[in-house]
């Protein structure tokens, strides 16, 4: 698919690196990261696998934490775009949001009580039922256009931005709040540990000695709008969605296809007719042995010499939010003309044929890729272009 360029006029982001996009960028360029054992929940594992948590963020009791994180990012994005939230109901506006935990019917306390033969209070389930991410945005801001919650596992955030952009192109609506959100929790934490892909220490993307991922939480929202609306408002485009590629490995429920053919197809689809250099790639880079091997090899043969990094060394793997947070970072990096170092990387892995940047690196070019690989074999890639100077 070669879409027309879809403007991105505002961005909001919250994760362990910062509670707003600028704060995240500043922290990353200072090389800061603080993975630590979870504080908001506990487990009985002998190893205290670190996570990238937001210990001071408190959700209101009526909403799931995921929905609250999403609202926080959405408000920043709208302010950044110069949009009054009260005015959205008068536009043809929609929401396209990715999540995994944020729509799972998995309240542990409820299930424990149910199994113990009690009739547990329905409060937690009611909270899940009213916290569907796209619906929460629609309700809060009076969005009358299409609202969709995507649950494509780890590629959800990237898919949400790409698909949201396609709605603008198709003229389904004039504005889309596109992004992703996910919260940390015991069930997910236990799940990844059981799969033996959680690192016992801070994660090391693309490093020869990488041992797995650290989970994280957060949200990001990008305001996509039609060129017509943007002109009417006189809004500045920080960036443009230039392309979106998506494919399936059809290989295994959890392991990526070793040949990386699916990812390669998605990259080529995202680049479409774009000629000219790719300035950098924000890789998925979870720091698991399998992911980084496949991704590194694909990048080496598809985009040789193009600098890349994983920002998960600063944020952890935020699951449904990851693709959106990383798209946000990609735009901010294009604006700065620089990418930060790949936190956690120290020693190159000879099996990859490529290594990420070791220090902050100046960019050449105005187009970048942000990509995600998911459980289930989804590969999703966004091509983002530098926008207009302020």
């Amino acid at each position: 698919m070669t879409p027309g360029a879809v403007p991105i006029s505002g961005i909001g982001c919250i994760c362990a690196a910062g509670t707003a996009l600028e704060a995240c960028m500043a922290a990353m360029f200072r090389g800061e990261r603080a993975p630590a054992p979870p504080r908001r929940f506990s487990t009985s594992h002998a190893i205290r696998y670190p996570v990238f948590e937001l210990p001071d963020f408190q959700e209101p009791p009526e909403l799931l934490r995921t929905a609250a994180l999403l609202l926080h990012a959405a408000r920043e994005a709208l302010a950044d775009a110069g949009l009054d939230p009260e005015r959205l109901a008068g536009l043809r506006a929609g929401a396209c949001i990715g999540t995994t935990v944020g729509s799972a019917m998995n309240d542990e306390a409820f299930c424990r009580a149910f199994r113990a033969g009690a009739n547990p209070d329905l409060g937690p389930m009611d909270r899940i039922l009213r916290s569907n991410p796209a619906a929460v945005l629609a309700r809060t801001f009076g969005l009358t256009g299409p609202c969709q919650t995507i649950v494509n596992a780890c590629s959800s955030g990237t898919d949400a931005v790409g698909l949201g952009a396609s709605w603008i192109e198709a003229g389904l609506c004039d504005l889309v709040l596109a992004g992703g959100a996910d919260q940390l929790g015991r069930i997910t934490y236990n799940g990844f540990i059981s799969m033996r892909i959680s690192a016992p220490g801070p994660c090391r993307p693309f490093d020869r000695d990488r041992e797995g991922l650290n989970l994280g939480e957060g949200a990001a929202v990008l305001v996509l709008e039609s060129p017509a609306l943007r002109r009417r408002r006189g809004a500045r485009a920080r960036s443009f969605v230039l392309g979106y590629g998506s494919s399936c490995d059809a290989y295994h429920p959890t392991a990526p296809s070793p040949d990386g053919a699916g990812l390669e197809r998605a990259i080529r689809e995202a680049l479409g007719a774009i000629r000219g250099p790719v300035a950098f790639v924000n890789a998925h880079g979870t720091a698991t042995p399998d992911n980084d091997r496949v991704e590194g090899q694909v990048l080496a043969r598809t985009l040789p010499g193009v600098p890349f990094l994983s920002t998960k060394g600063y944020t952890g793997h935020t699951l449904g939010a990851a693709g959106a947070i990383e798209a946000a970072f990609t735009v901010a990096c294009l604006e700065r003309g620089q990418i930060p170092a790949c936190a956690g990387f120290a020693t190159a892995d000879p099996g990859l044929g490529a290594e990420p940047v070791r220090e902050p690196t100046a960019l050449r070019g105005t187009v970048a890729l942000s990509q995600s690989l998911a459980f289930g074999g989804n590969n999703a890639v966004l091509a983002l272009g530098l926008g207009e100077r302020p």
Binding site: R112, L122, M125, C147, T149, A153, S166, G191, A250, P253
Partner: protein
């Protein structure tokens, strides 16, 4: 862009396949049974199904039936798009995963159940079983799931991203869902319409923008979702409804299928059958408790 429904596959309390659906449409079954994914054995060897829980099996069965119905089972599915909607996801396996933690502690969390509890498990399994390497999308937003997913499927075809989409929806009445159902009914805040039985099942359609050899069921002329007043129903035409005020004119398949967030997918399947039987154009309208609507218009091929 002319988009058609080439095949329909369904499994639910009324039985499995378009034959059973047609019978049930003509004369509603006396009682709603549990959906039986057993016939999936016809399409896939047992060993290859071992990772699929009941939820994924229902989806896989309906999907294979849709492909078979379209005469497309033997085709190369490499470029097939897959779109799956589910209101509640794999609640049975989600509970099983939590059970593994309750029974054995955190260190006995089952990774197989964890992987199976992901919402996109059915889409992943379908892609592996069929060798479908095109784009894959799973959508989950309770009663709007089907309409939202259909909008996406139609858009993919319209924009030429793919030229065939295996589109469908699935929900299961697991122990957890059934419990929630019963508790909410007791509190007089039912999950579905008051008195409606809790249903489960899967309904899939093979949608296409190709000039196909086989005669399609119908065209898919529109698939829209939004929040606020729904577009008005065309007067006098066939309408299938989910949700909304009881006095809205139209047919409801509640007693045939039971209530589940994925129920509107059965409306689409039934509409396709009825349009092919000569009922004229059909509108499928789903109205949610949250003020959202999903509208699909199907036309005679």
């Amino acid at each position: 862009m002319r988009i058609t429904a080439q095949g329909v596959g369904v499994v639910g309390g009324f039985g499995c396949g378009v034959g059973d659906l047609a019978k049930a449409l003509a004369a509603a079954p006396a009682a709603l049974l549990r959906a039986d994914p057993g016939p999936l054995d016809r399409f896939v060897p047992r060993r290859e199904l071992r990772r699929l829980d009941r939820f994924s099996r229902m989806a896989a069965l309906a999907a294979h039936l849709a492909l078979e119905d379209a005469g497309a089972l033997g085709d190369d599915q490499t470029r097939l798009g897959v779109v799956v909607a589910s209101g509640y996801g794999a609640t049975g396996t989600t509970l099983a995963m939590i059970d593994s933690i309750i029974e054995g502690g955190d260190a006995c969390t089952s990774p197989i159940h964890f992987a199976g509890s992901l919402h996109n498990a059915p889409a992943a399994h379908l892609s592996i079983l069929l060798g479908a390497k095109g784009p894959s999308l799973t959508v989950s937003q309770f009663q709007l799931s089907v309409g939202s997913a259909l909008m996406a499927a139609r858009l993919w075809l319209d924009q030429g991203r793919v030229d065939r989409v295996l589109f469908g929806a699935v929900d299961e009445c697991s122990e957890l869902t059934a419990h929630l159902w019963a508790r909410r009914a007791e509190l007089e805040r039912p999950l579905g319409p008051a008195g409606a039985p809790c249903g489960e099942g899967a309904a899939f359609l093979l949608l296409s923008s190709r000039a196909e050899a086989a005669v399609p069921y119908c065209t898919l002329d529109q698939a829209a979702i939004g929040r606020g007043p729904a577009p008005a129903l065309p007067a006098g035409g066939l309408a299938l409804l989910c949700g909304g005020p009881a006095d809205l004119p139209g047919r409801r398949l509640l007693s045939l299928v039971g209530w589940m967030p994925a129920a509107p997918a059965f409306d689409l399947a039934a509409a396709a059958l009825l349009v092919r039987q000569g009922a004229g154009p059909a509108t499928c309208l789903a109205l949610t408790d949250d003020g959202e609507y999903a509208l699909a218009r199907l036309g005679p091929a």
